[in-house]
């Protein structure tokens, strides 16, 4: 039986135009909407699969303001059964702050007899791209950590993680309890069913105060990259442009 904790974060959906808030401190999500990172969606799917396969539980963690409940409910609808929210302004929390808050929840749950023997996180958040929270969490808890796994299974008390490494498909086998950060691509996140959504609405979310004051993100300001003027040369329209395209291929020397 494996109890899995998945850490997710409410982030601005940045597939469209990115707008910076007037104070230069955040991405403005008022028009774009919010979501969770693709890596975290994969982590939720892995948690649901692992907990189902081992008869354990899949629980969620997030740090954010009350609006982050939307992302928790969405992940609950995928099959997780419990959720904890540290209610705080996530923009004030740096990677080490977030790792400390997750560790505090894990320790409290353990003290109350509810352990999380596998903690999954996204490899990096779509907004901040820090690449650090999972590793910092592992050091906080004194647990082994595997980074960038696209597959995770449990065997004989160990997490077996598959990572696409520079020399091929790397396998890690680490004893539980452990921390694993997840890359999308190994599993297909499920689409929540209607019964799943109904069930998710009824789950009571554990809301907590932060364990400590944030030390911050070291951010000075956000800016948008300067726009690059278009210098495109139109080669033509429709199939008639084929000859010009092949001329270009010849010029670049890329024809086999």
């Amino acid at each position: 039986m494996n109890n899995v904790l998945v850490c997710i974060k409410r982030v601005v959906d940045s597939t469209g135009e990115v707008v910076i808030t007037d104070d230069g401190q955040n991405v403005d999500g008022r028009y774009a909407g919010f979501t969770v990172s693709a890596h975290e969606e994969a982590a939720v799917e892995l948690a649901v699969q692992i907990s189902a396969a081992t008869g354990g539980t899949g629980a969620l963690f997030t740090l954010g303001d009350e609006s982050a409940e939307e992302q928790l409910r969405g992940a609950l609808a995928m099959g997780c059964t419990a959720a904890t929210q540290v209610r705080a302004d996530s923009s004030a929390y740096g990677p080490s702050d977030v790792a400390r808050e997750i560790a505090a929840v894990v320790r409290d749950h353990e003290a109350n007899g509810s352990s999380h023997d596998l903690i999954l996180l996204g490899n990096d958040a779509a907004d901040s791209g820090d690449f650090q929270v999972g590793i910092r969490l592992a050091y906080e808890l004194g647990r082994p950590v595997v980074n960038g796994a696209s597959t995770v299974t449990i065997k004989d008390g160990h997490a077996v993680a598959g990572v696409k490494g520079p020399e091929g498909h790397e396998i890690y086998r680490v004893p539980l309890p452990a921390v694993v950060t997840v890359l999308e691509g190994g599993v297909e996140p499920r689409y929540p069913s209607v019964p799943g959504r109904m069930k998710a609405k009824k789950v009571e979310i554990e809301v907590r105060e932060p364990a400590g004051a944030p030390t911050g993100t070291k951010r000075v300001r956000l800016t948008l990259p300067p726009p690059q003027p278009s210098q495109v040369q139109i080669l033509g329209t429709g199939p008639e442009a084929a000859a010009a395209v092949v001329d270009l291929f010849e010029k670049l020397g890329v024809l086999r």
Binding site: G16, V18, V27, G94, S96, N123, A126, G129, D130, F131, Q132, I135, R136, Y139, G142, P144, V145, V146, N147, G148, K164, G165, G168, H169, E170, I171, Y172, V174, A178, E184, G185, G186, T217, K218, R219, V220, R221, L222, L224, P225, Q231, V232, I234, L235, G236, T237, G238, P239, E240, A241, A242, V245, V246, L248, F249, E250, L252, V254, L255, R256
Partner: protein, 329 residues
Amino acid sequence: MIVVLVETDVTGAVEVSRETITFARGLSASGGGVPIDAVVIGDLPCDPTALAEQLAAYGVRDVHHASGDAFSAYGGAAWAAAVQSVRDTTGAVVVTAAGTPRGGEVLAHVAARTGVAMAANVIAFGGLAPFTVTRQVVGGSAWEEMVLDERPAIFTVAGHAVAAEEAPSAGAGHLVEFQPEVEAADLVARVTSTAEPEPDLSGSLKGARVVVGAGRGAGSADGFGELLDLVGMLDGASLGVSRVVTSLGWRPHHEQVGQTGSRVSPDLYLACGISGAIQHWAGMASSKTIVAINTDEEAPMVAKAHYAVIGDMHEILPAINEEIRKRKS
């Protein structure tokens, strides 16, 4: 002192590591010419002496080569222990690496062990007092200026933030062999086996000379025939796709180019039916020549491309393929 974690292949230091050393030279110059040392770890795929000579040309002083049983298989914590050992013995005030998965992982371990902040994917540095850097966030669609006021300052350098260039005057390039002490806890998470990667119809996407990219405009899983024909007719070409293509299940994830897929920098990127969302752009922006084929002449990919053809890829690609066959015959 600046310490750079260098990744290697059979040719020596990989390009992104040479870019990182080039970036570090700028930092060194702004600090009055502090030395740059490199760290390489484990059984190298290249000759260490030749590597030291190569890095000397980039201005590196000492090349610290960590070896021993602890590094017979990759493990992020053990590698971090080696980097930290060099940092401690040299008193380096900056530790950096290329913004690869491995570079980011090892430096995040170093940051956690030393309890200081880390900046990922840095593209520029500002003042040294305080030490400020600018890095890519939100998949490259925004820049963050941040302060690294602790020591060592730890950051990874985004791919292609600068071009790799040899130094005007070479460094010493001394090869320093060492065997750092590694705690047992640092060896718990390490590679236990390596399998051949799953069959990859896209070929070696990351190193491809040409990438034929396809997006939603492909229309369906059956819409890739002409694209694959073109891949077969171009030298060193691979198929790359946008995230929507993998999300719809039309093509496998290992073919995905973008923020959460592969990052490529081919001589030619042919973007067929790809609108040019920032997440995709982040993965192919460093392509030398970009050609867009798109029905929408206002699409971001068209605006950013060097060349464009306006129209339906399903009409244009067969014509291109036919033209190539005609010229070959």
